[in-house]
């Protein structure tokens, strides 16, 4: 594309493409998001590599969640929200008319700020997705999926004796890991996390961060966080948003040690936020 040629951010994506095999999993071009008349995201282009964690940071209200929701078309469910631009996932535009948002969401899982397990048993929380997508052939298969997902989310040992207990009875950190397991169970390629630790205590947070690090080997992970320490700890790539603009994007080390933009530096040194 002509416009992307002169865009320094796209260059970043291209560099990345050269270093990682398989190229960027998701490639966003000129994304604009409107709530009614108000433009919440201004012409953002960026890409997300596979098997890596990308952190979106920025002050509250800068559009991180809004941007994240573009990636699994959750913005479709918000009244008067409109998305413009191209989002290519493995080369296919997810906003195409013939892409079913429901199928897309089974490929792009999401974990929310507040743990929101279904008010059902732990087992059913995990099994629900595979059931509606027909991923399991019979009960044994489903049991296996549940176990595998819970193991991957590091929750298996804690809940294996009470799978029929309600998911809402777990602690906050366990609930959040349950939600991660629920997302994993439908075999997604991408996992979006919107401030997954903001409602958790430090120990539970550390546990989730460890988990994210483990999951990085299998998935393309995008995490929104307001904690710069967290971004530094778990992510390989970091994007800094401000007032709906993507200010800077690069390798996490570079963003935190040697930001190119003044605004990024101000933010990570705590001068505003």
């Amino acid at each position: 594309m002509d416009t992307s040629q002169g865009n320094p951010m796209m260059d970043d994506g291209l560099t990345l493409q050269r270093t990682k095999d398989g190229g960027p999993r998701i490639d966003c071009r000129n994304i604009k998001v409107f709530y009614g008349q108000a433009e919440a995201i201004h012409d953002v282009s960026m890409s997300f590599p596979d098997r890596a964690v990308t952190a979106l940071i920025g002050p509250s209200g800068c559009g991180k969640s809004t941007f994240l929701r573009c990636l699994n078309r959750m913005n479709d469910t918000i009244e008067n929200c409109r998305v413009e631009g191209k989002i290519l996932m493995d080369g296919e535009d997810i906003n195409d008319a013939d892409v079913d948002p429901v199928l897309l969401r089974s490929r792009v899982g999401m974990v929310f700020q507040k743990p929101n397990p279904f008010p059902k048993s732990i087992y059913d929380n995990i099994a629900y997705g595979p059931r509606i997508h027909g991923l399991a052939n019979g009960r044994e298969d489903l049991d296996a999926i549940v176990e595998k997902s819970l193991r991957r989310a590091g929750l298996w040992d804690e809940v294996k004796d009470r799978l029929s207990a309600p998911g809402t009875g777990l602690s906050g950190g366990q609930q959040q890991r349950l939600c991660i397991a629920r997302a994993i169970a439908v075999q997604p390629e991408v996992i979006l996390m919107d401030e997954p630790c903001s409602a958790l205590d430090p120990i539970a947070t550390a546990r989730i961060e460890e988990l994210i690090d483990e999951l990085r080997n299998r998935y393309c992970i995008v995490i929104v966080t307001h904690s710069m320490q967290q971004a530094a700890r778990v992510s390989q790539r970091t994007a800094f948003f401000h007032l709906g603009n993507l200010v800077e994007m690069g390798d996490t080390g570079q963003i935190f040690t040697n930001p190119r933009e003044k605004r990024t530096e101000d933010y990570i040194t705590g001068r505003f936020g």
Binding site: N72, M74, T77, E79, V102, L103, R105, S106, G109, M110, V111, F112, K114, N116, P117, F118, P119, Y128, G129, I132, H133, T168, C179, R182, A183, A185, V186
Partner: protein, 526 residues
């Protein structure tokens, strides 16, 4: 603190503010408490007045008649089949009347007395016995005890609620002279002192030219009327029984101030009732017929079964129509419909519909269902449809509130694992909202159950003697039955109406209890 230390004046001000605030708190508590107490008081008065009335209708008096089922009367030539026996009200009633005439030979003397004794029992009261004999024809020819309710006015009299009387002690009676035709002269030193005194008191309240009130003298099964009463002697006219009872047994006098011509029961009937009671032939029993009989023009036979069944059939139709339509409409409006002018307009109109007076729905029902669609009048089908019209806006509003209360995080959670909108709603949102939806629906139904005005307009107020068997049969419902009964003139209907109100309240309590139960059982936290 440092402020107050520096400025002693401001400490005093702070104390003053604190005092004021505490006074305001106290006042508010007082207002709240008095509001609650007023409401509770009103409720208590309602329950006590209706309950005490109803309590008197909870039991009634029945009379036992030992009769021989004479085949010639019960199953005469050519009418001996069981169904003929079951219909032979005249025959059974004749046996009962003969039994009464046998007990009270003086009643046979003239037509008026015969009619008075026949008033004891309503013709139709023998029907259950006739039907029982029809089922067991081997009883024909044997001697059985037929039990039939006592006439409602006499029933009230025995309960002390109809004709008021004062019971008075009578001293020893020394002599009785005279004969049946001209009456007797009863004397005894100071025997009637109490009676004379009571009559003087009663006379003081009456106009000067008022006729003498009735004074009855009872000894065992025998009763007579006293006239020309003085302290030591009186004239006794025997109404029933034997004159020698007055010499033998302790007598009691009854002063009945209400004039005989202004009462529904005569001195003679009172005398017979007292005699039957003395013979232990009258029992006070629970009035189960209130729930097992259908409506009747005789209060002692009337019951609410037809109305209860009518109410249930009507509610069934209402539930079948209003609940699915209301709930599905609510789900659609809340979860699927786009928010635009049209849905806003619909929403406003549903709220308006819920505020429309119920009688308007009755008019609409009469015009639409009966006149236009030609459905049967007075039928639970039409009643149920009318009440459904009235109920479903309530169901929609309650269901939408319940759906709104489901946190959006549940929806986004389901959507994020790739559930479709439909799956999200029906797998997650509706089950969570179900207790609230059901609560709203049942409360709407409870309101419909207590509704009478719209049903009057579609003819469900007609007298219905038979239990409806299908939603298209002629029928009435409990609130309308209460309305009809309360319009009846006879006094006996009053406690009966209260009893029916209690039955209706019991049904409403049952439904509200169901709501509480469903809430407790299925309400889940998330």
């Amino acid at each position: 603190m440092t402020d107050t230390a520096r400025n002693p004046d401001s400490k005093a001000k702070a104390m003053k503010r604190l005092k004021k605030r505490r006074a305001a708190d106290g006042r508010f508590r007082f207002y709240g408490l008095s509001a609650i107490l007023t409401a509770l008081g009103a409720l208590a008065v309602l329950v006590i007045t209706i309950g005490s009335q109803a309590l008197s209708a909870a039991t009634y008096h029945v009379v036992n008649y030992d009769i021989t089922l004479d085949p010639a009367v019960i199953a005469p030539e050519g009418a001996g089949r069981p169904e003929d026996i079951g219909r032979n009200v005249e025959g059974f009633y004749g046996l009962v009347r003969d039994n009464l005439l046998e007990t009270f030979p003086e009643a046979a003397e003239d037509r008026a007395s015969r009619r008075e004794v026949a008033d004891f029992v309503t013709r139709l009261a023998v029907l259950p016995t006739a039907q029982m004999v029809a089922k067991q024809p081997e009883l024909v020819g044997t001697r059985i005890t037929l039990t039939a309710p006592l006439n409602d006015d006499l029933d009230l009299y025995l309960k002390g609620q109809g004709v008021r009387e004062r019971k008075l002690d009578v001293g020893a009676i020394a002599s009785i002279k005279g004969e049946a035709e001209g009456g007797y002269r009863v004397t005894g030193a100071g025997a009637f002192d109490a009676v004379v005194a009571a009559m003087a008191v009663a006379a003081a309240d009456l106009p000067a030219d008022a006729p003498e009130p009735s004074v009855l003298l009872t000894a065992g099964p025998s009763t007579g009327r006293l006239t020309e009463i003085s302290a030591g002697s009186a004239h006794l006219e025997l109404l029933t029984g034997k004159i020698r009872d007055f010499a033998r047994l302790q007598s009691k006098a009854r002063l009945i101030v209400a004039l005989e011509s202004e009462r529904t029961i005569s001195d003679q009937q009172i005398a017979w009732t007292l005699a039957l009671k003395d013979m232990d032939r009258i029992d006070r029993v629970p009035r189960t017929t209130l729930l097992t009989n259908s409506d009747s023009t005789y209060p002692e036979l009337a019951g609410g079964l037809a109305a209860i069944v009518g109410s249930l059939l009507t509610m069934l139709i209402t539930a079948l129509v209003a609940m699915p339509i209301g709930i599905l409409a609510a789900v659609y409006l809340e979860e699927f419909a786009p928010k635009n002018r049209v849905t806003e307009f619909i929403e406003v109109n549903i709220n308006n519909l819920a505020a429309v007076p119920s009688i308007v729905f009755g008019l609409l029902g009469a015009a639409l269902y009966i006149n236009f669609l030609g459905m049967p009048r007075s039928a639970p089908l039409v009643g149920g449809l009318v009440l459904a019209l009235m109920t479903f806006p309530v169901v929609i509003i309650a269901s939408r509130a319940a759906l709104k209360a489901v946190p959006p995080s549940v929806r986004s959670g389901a959507l994020a694992v790739g559930a479709s909108q439909m799956q999200t709603v029906f797998h997650h949102v509706v089950p969570l909202a179900a207790p609230g939806i059901l609560t709203g629906a049942i409360l709407g139904m409870a309101r419909a159950l207590g509704e009478s005005a719209p049903l009057l307009l579609i003819g469900m107020v007609a007298f219905v003697g038979d239990v409806p068997r299908s939603p298209t049969d002629e029928s009435t419902v409990m609130p309308v039955l209460i309305f009809s009964w309360s319009n009846n003139a006879e006094r006996a209907w009053e406690p009966l109406t209260s009893a029916m109100i209690i039955v209706l309240l019991a049904f409403l309590l049952l439904m509200n209890g169901l709501v509480v139960f469903l809430r407790r059982k299925y309400e889940r936290r998330w």
